[in-house]
């Protein structure tokens, strides 16, 4: 094998300029893929984190049918107290779960005593909510940025509504809602803070303490609309969702048919489609890399075989078996691919490091001045490298096969 590599390396050095060009092309492709994957993955992860850590949670648990009619925030589809207890038991026993937050969600009228509009109210346990959605605190643009913002009698008003109503921190407002029995109730609140939307202008979600929500809706017991769950690692979301479903005794049928539903963030947020598009783009970029490697290696190996016909004839004449001739050219392709991959990984990781050191900023939604911090998983580097090497060998296969099938007598006659 060593001799094959030695001869292959010498042959590649024989055509220095061509080999360098091919290696450069492959390396450029690898660099492009690595940097693209690193940047898009970091932006995607950041965006997902913005959504899940700001308001959604990594996954949510609802009563069956609630998500389908979530726009009307149906109180009659709240999780019953006994259901909440059994869910809490499962969640408390799961090691992968960072925290969870029960929420009562309902539609209400919001009034500053002069004007009235509708609002979506989230009644939450402040400590649990801020633990499950840690970036929510950073969304409070004015007022108290602590759990005290959601003490009883206080409300966090969405920015859009506050601007429209001219509501300021310290103002008194009224929230009026109808409970599931149809009776109307209201409660005055002190505006404790203005809440930025997570994904840009818009959003009508206000937050109050869960006990105030129960008081307005005259709910006794632990009944809630949803339970938002934060997991320790975003990559484990699907596994954790499955384990919760298992813990709650939910099969696929029950998941669809009623009872309790467990949804991951990607099933709840339209941003999942954008994330999927980013993944799709990454696949296309990888496909481009494959095309670059395939074409450049195929081209260089076809040339190599064409230029060395007499040499192939000579080594075949002196008894080199066809499979050895095949190996010679495959190893050449392998060496080209390996060199391109190594050079590409070296420069790719270097550029990612430089991007990190440069601290390039970007904006997402209301968040501005976010620092681009591209990172790439070792798995991605290994996949890109292996892809290049495997494609290089595959691209060499046809020219190598052609070389191995040459009749020595005809090859020796070649001028």
């Amino acid at each position: 094998m060593f001799n094959l590599v030695k001869i292959a390396a010498r042959n590649l050095r024989r055509y220095k300029r061509r080999s360098l060009l091919t290696v450069s092309l492959i390396a450029f492709g690898v660099v492009f893929v690595l940097v693209f994957v690193a940047v898009t993955a970091s932006i995607k992860d950041f965006m997902i984190a913005q959504i899940t850590d700001s308001y959604l949670g990594d996954l949510q648990i609802h009563r069956g049918g609630y998500v389908a009619s979530i726009e009307s925030l149906p109180l009659n589809l709240n999780l019953p107290p006994e259901g909440v207890s059994s869910i809490e038991k499962v969640l408390s026993g799961a090691k992968e779960i960072e925290s969870y937050s029960e929420r009562i969600k309902f539609g209400a009228l919001f009034s500053n005593f002069m004007e009235t509009t509708n609002i979506r109210i989230n009644g939450v346990y402040p400590e649990k909510e801020f633990a499950t959605c840690p970036q929510m605190l950073s969304r409070i643009s004015e007022g108290e940025k602590s759990v005290r913002a959601l003490e009883r009698g206080k409300i966090l008003v969405p920015k859009l509504l506050a601007q429209g109503f001219g509501a300021k921190v310290g103002d008194t407002v009224v929230v009026v809602a109808t409970n599931k029995d149809g009776s109307v109730n209201g409660k005055t609140f002190l505006v404790s803070g203005i809440l930025e939307s997570a994904t840009g202008p818009g959003g009508r979600d206000g937050y109050i303490n869960i006990e105030d929500a129960r008081e307005i809706l005259r709910i006794s017991g632990k009944e809630v609309s949803e339970i938002a769950v934060s997991v320790k690692s975003l990559g484990q979301v699907e596994e954790v969702a499955q384990s919760i479903r298992g813990g709650l005794g939910l099969g696929e049928k029950k998941q669809k048919g009623g009872g309790i539903e467990v949804h991951t963030w990607s099933q709840l947020s339209p941003f999942a489609n954008i994330a999927n598009m980013i993944d799709l783009m990454t696949y296309f970029i990888k496909l481009m890399l494959i095309a670059i490697v395939l074409i450049s290696i195929l081209n260089v190996m076809i040339m190599a075989v064409y230029e060395r016909v007499r040499e192939i004839g000579t080594i075949a004449a002196i008894g080199t078996l066809p499979r050895k001739i095949l190996s010679l050219f495959l190893v050449e392709g392998f060496c080209l691919g390996l060199t391109g991959a190594v050079v590409g990984v070296f420069f790719g990781l270097g550029i990612i490091l430089v991007l990190n050191l440069s601290k390039i900023t970007f904006n997402f939604g209301q968040a501005t001045g976010l620092i681009l911090a591209p990172t790439i998983a070792p798995k991605e580097v290994i996949i890109a490298s292996l892809m290049v090497i495997v494609v290089s060998v595959l691209a060499s296969l046809q020219p190598a096969y052609k070389a191995s099938r040459m009749e020595p007598i005809e090859a020796l006659r070649h001028i």
Binding site: I7, N11, R14, R310, T314, A317, I318, G319, L321, I409
Partner: protein
């Protein structure tokens, strides 16, 4: 004992409309240890005959045995294996592998064909390079060698596998007269040392005198066989003993 036995060998090349008879019912036998030249003008069938003996091509009809093997029956892979074990080649244009040094060129058949261990390879290559007077140039690339030196390396490469037969197609065609003589004498010396049968083709009348048997071909027919000296036949054991003694 005959190393090569050919009976009524015929080789016809067919083009679109014309059939060219390169060899017509050629019969001969060559004893082991011979130093034989096929001579004749261009197109007389010398190269075709060497290609047939070297298992590089198959006759249209006739029988051909080399070292007791009916080589016409050999498949592609078997023919390659047979060549690797039994036949050494010397080419008109030397055909050294340009990316390998003189040492590595001689070593190549031992590595890629016979897969011999490193120590054995080294000792055999050095002995052969010494025998052909190229030890000092062992680390030079082919492009750094003169034509005569390249052919010396090619002779060493042909002999390094201890073949029964070395085929040389116009080995002196690209060399000046003096070097051509030197190469022929070296080949003869190698035959004397190792007992290897040398068959070469030439149309250079100046060096034909070096051959011990001269077979003349004309228009694909063997028209004359002239024996000028007795072949120094050696057993394979003698050959190995000579190699070891070098």
């Amino acid at each position: 004992m005959s190393l090569v036995v050919a009976q009524t060998l015929t080789k016809t090349y067919a083009t679109d409309s014309v059939q060219v008879k390169a060899l017509q019912e050629v019969s001969f036998d060559i004893a082991a240890g011979s130093f034989l030249a096929f001579v004749g003008p261009s197109g007389s069938g010398k190269t075709t005959l060497l290609n047939l003996i070297g298992c590089l091509d198959k006759p249209t009809s006739g029988n051909l045995e080399v070292a007791g093997v009916d080589i016409i029956q050999l498949g592609r892979r078997q023919a390659a294996e047979f060549r690797g074990q039994n036949i050494g080649f010397i080419f008109q244009s030397f055909n050294l592998i340009s990316v390998l040094t003189a040492f590595e060129n001689v070593e190549y058949p031992l590595v890629m064909v016979q897969e011999r261990p490193l120590v054995e390879r080294r000792s055999r290559v050095l002995k052969l390079l010494k025998a052909v007077g190229m030890l000092e140039q062992k680390n030079q690339m082919p492009e750094q060698l003169s034509g005569g030196q390249k052919q010396r390396v090619a002779i060493a490469r042909a002999l390094v596998t201890e073949p029964k037969l070395v085929l040389a197609d116009e080995p002196t065609a690209n060399l000046d007269h003096e070097t051509a003589y030197m190469i022929l004498r070296l080949m003869k010396q190698m035959r004397d040392n190792f007992g290897t049968t040398f068959i070469f083709s030439t149309h250079d009348t100046r060096i034909i005198g070096e051959a011990e048997i001269v077979c003349t071909l004309e228009d694909g027919r063997l028209v004359q066989r002239e024996e000028r000296g007795k072949a120094n036949v050696q057993s394979s054991e003698d050959r190995r003993a000579k190699l070891t003694a070098l």
